[in-house]
Amino acid sequence: MKEKITRDEVRHVARLARLELTGQEEARLTDQMNQILCYMEKLNELNTTDIPATTHAIQLHNVFRQDAVQASLDRAGALANAPDSDGACFRVPKVI
């Protein structure tokens, strides 16, 4: 099987995806992604020059609504599921 993605690339993609993989996960994903990406080669059997891309099956135009004030989630509701907050804001580990 041709190698489509190397273990180094898997590590790079994991960084982009904000995932921390174990060595075992890295090895397994390298194998599995290679197998899956090789299967996807199949798409190259089709000539798609000049075929437009479909991003949504139902074509829609911009949808606008009245720019009117409506009730929204209150602060307590928005913070209720937060792992950490100070009652007014979400709290996260030090950034700078």
Partner: protein
């Protein structure tokens, strides 16, 4: 009288005639869940107290039993749809303690129709899977054979209906996640047209594909449920403002003279012989009902798996970026800095299949690969969509198998993700095209596993799909058989 084995519309007539009280009825379901669900694991959360409270309101006259065809009907909801104040896990450790601050639109609509929620059902994590084995809360088992999977990702919703642990349920379908488990569990499952049902409050997997739909004991129930959940919603920008017809009254019209297309690419080499036999018999039944059967071609069927498993993971990798341990969801304690907190929380919160799809999606969208994968797949999606539009020039609906095999064994495909993906080959194209489709029982394999018939229709023609399914169901009489191993 076992109220739990009745269809929604049968149960309703007992409730309206006061032959059973709502509390008796709900109690009967809760007792059955109590005795059977330890083995089947269809529910993640059972809502005993609120279900009984709602039932009492109907019995003491506060709730109006005549208010709607769903009043006091006990339903189960896939745990990917937000229910206010009720834990919504998406089958993930990530959302183990998540209590949404609002109801999804479909929940709002069902609540105002008077439906009673028995609980939230098990599923593949974030709806990614075809077997309900990818749940952080353990796999669901197929009520017909507990060594086998119920299908997925809405496996809990389908198995709960099949095992009479609810009257009907909601599932979601992104690439077959309603139709395939309905087929594996011998119940009816309808995926509506993309845009027919609001996605507001449905936790996103692949936003251009996700749809909510009913899983029920018969076709009439599917029409009743769709009637309530369908319609435009300002809060979902992809919801389509298209008139909602009366689905139930449309069922009774015969299908004589209707043209039904048989897509030749859907009869795969290597398909289980019992599946092809059951589907061929179903086609004969449709012909006997007066439908004209014509062979059609959907030439790009074979490219559906590749296109789908690029597009859906791409959208998923973007949607699941929101799980960062800040606003909700799991956070590992004591991370040194923000970036480690993100990475460690996500790695601990997500299971292997979700990580695999995030990795695939991130890869196909990354610099240098976007055109070769994501753009290419989106172009092939156009070809697949055109296949259906062309076919519907020649016929009113398509009739085909749902899956090439009946329910497989637990563990059979878990080590080989590509084999699992390939099992979705017959449901993915309709999802990519955004058209409606139903699975209706059409027979059993020699080892007594249910087989489903897939009926696909043009965009927004759920009425046609339901009518063909209803007329077939009445003629074939495969619906209503219940798993023999379970107590009645």
């Amino acid at each position: 009288m076992n109220v739990h084995s009745l269809t929604m519309h049968e149960l309703r007539s007992l409730l309206v005639r006061k032959e059973v009280s709502a509390v008796e009825m709900v109690t009967s379901f809760l007792e059955r869940i109590d005795s059977l669900d330890a083995a089947l694991n269809t529910y993640i959360t059972v809502l005993a107290d609120s279900a009984l409270e709602n039932a009492r309101s109907f019995d003491n006259g506060v709730g109006d039993i005549d208010a709607s065809p769903l009043a006091a009907v006990p339903l189960a909801i896939k745990d990917v749809i937000c229910t206010k104040g009720v834990r919504t896990t998406c089958g993930s450790r990530m959302l183990n303690n998540f209590k949404p601050p609002y109801d999804g639109t479909v929940i709002e609509r069902l609540r105002s129709a008077g439906a009673i929620f028995l609980g939230k059902t098990n599923m593949d994590e974030f709806a990614m899977g075809s077997s309900t084995e990818n749940s952080a809360y353990g796999p669901t088992r197929n009520p017909w054979d507990t060594d086998r999977v119920p299908g997925g990702s809405s496996g809990g919703s389908a198995a709960a209906v099949a095992a009479d642990l609810c009257s009907g349920s909601l599932g979601t379908d992104t690439g077959g996640s309603i139709r395939q488990p309905a087929s594996f569990c011998g119940v009816v499952g309808l995926k509506p047209t993309y845009g027919r049902v609001s996605r507001f409050g449905l936790v996103a997997f692949a936003s251009s594909l996700d749809q909510v739909g009913p899983i029920t004991k018969d076709v009439e129930d599917a029409a009743l449920l769709l009637q309530v959940i369908a319609g435009y919603d300002q809060r979902d920008t992809t919801s389509v403002d298209h008139p909602v017809p009366d689905y139930v009254s449309g069922l009774r019209e015969p299908i004589r003279g209707m043209r039904l297309g048989i897509p030749r690419e859907y009869f795969l080499e290597g398909m289980h012989p019992d599946v092809s036999a059951a589907v061929e018999k179903a086609i004969r039944t449709c012909r006997e009902l007066g439908a004209e059967i014509i062979e059609v071609s959907l030439p790009h069927t074979d490219f559906g798996v590749s296109a789908y498993y690029i597009i859906a993971p791409a959208e998923a990798s973007s949607n699941l970026a929101r799980y960062d341990g800040v606003k909700y969801g799991l956070r590992v304690p004591d991370a040194a800095d923000l970036m480690s907190m993100y990475r460690l929380s996500r790695s601990e919160g997500f299971g292997p299949e979700v990580k695999r799809r995030i990795m695939l999606g991130t890869y196909v969208l990354s610099a240098g690969y976007y055109d070769a994968y994501y753009r290419k797949a989106s172009q092939v999606r156009t070809l697949i969509r055109r296949d259906f539009l062309d076919a519907f020039q020649q016929c009113d609906a398509l009739v085909a198998p749902v899956a090439p095999i009946p329910a497989f064994k637990l563990g059979e495909k878990t080590d080989d993700p590509l084999q699992m993906y390939l099992s979705d080959v017959l449901t993915l194209p309709a999802s990519l095209a955004g058209i409606p489709g139903i699975s209706v029982p059409c027979g059993f394999s020699s080892d007594n596993l249910p087989i489903g018939l897939q009926i696909l229709g043009p965009h927004f023609r759920e009425d046609i799909v339901l009518r063909v399914a209803y007329q077939f169901e009445r003629a074939a009489g495969c619906t209503g058989r219940r798993p023999g191993a379970l107590p009645r």
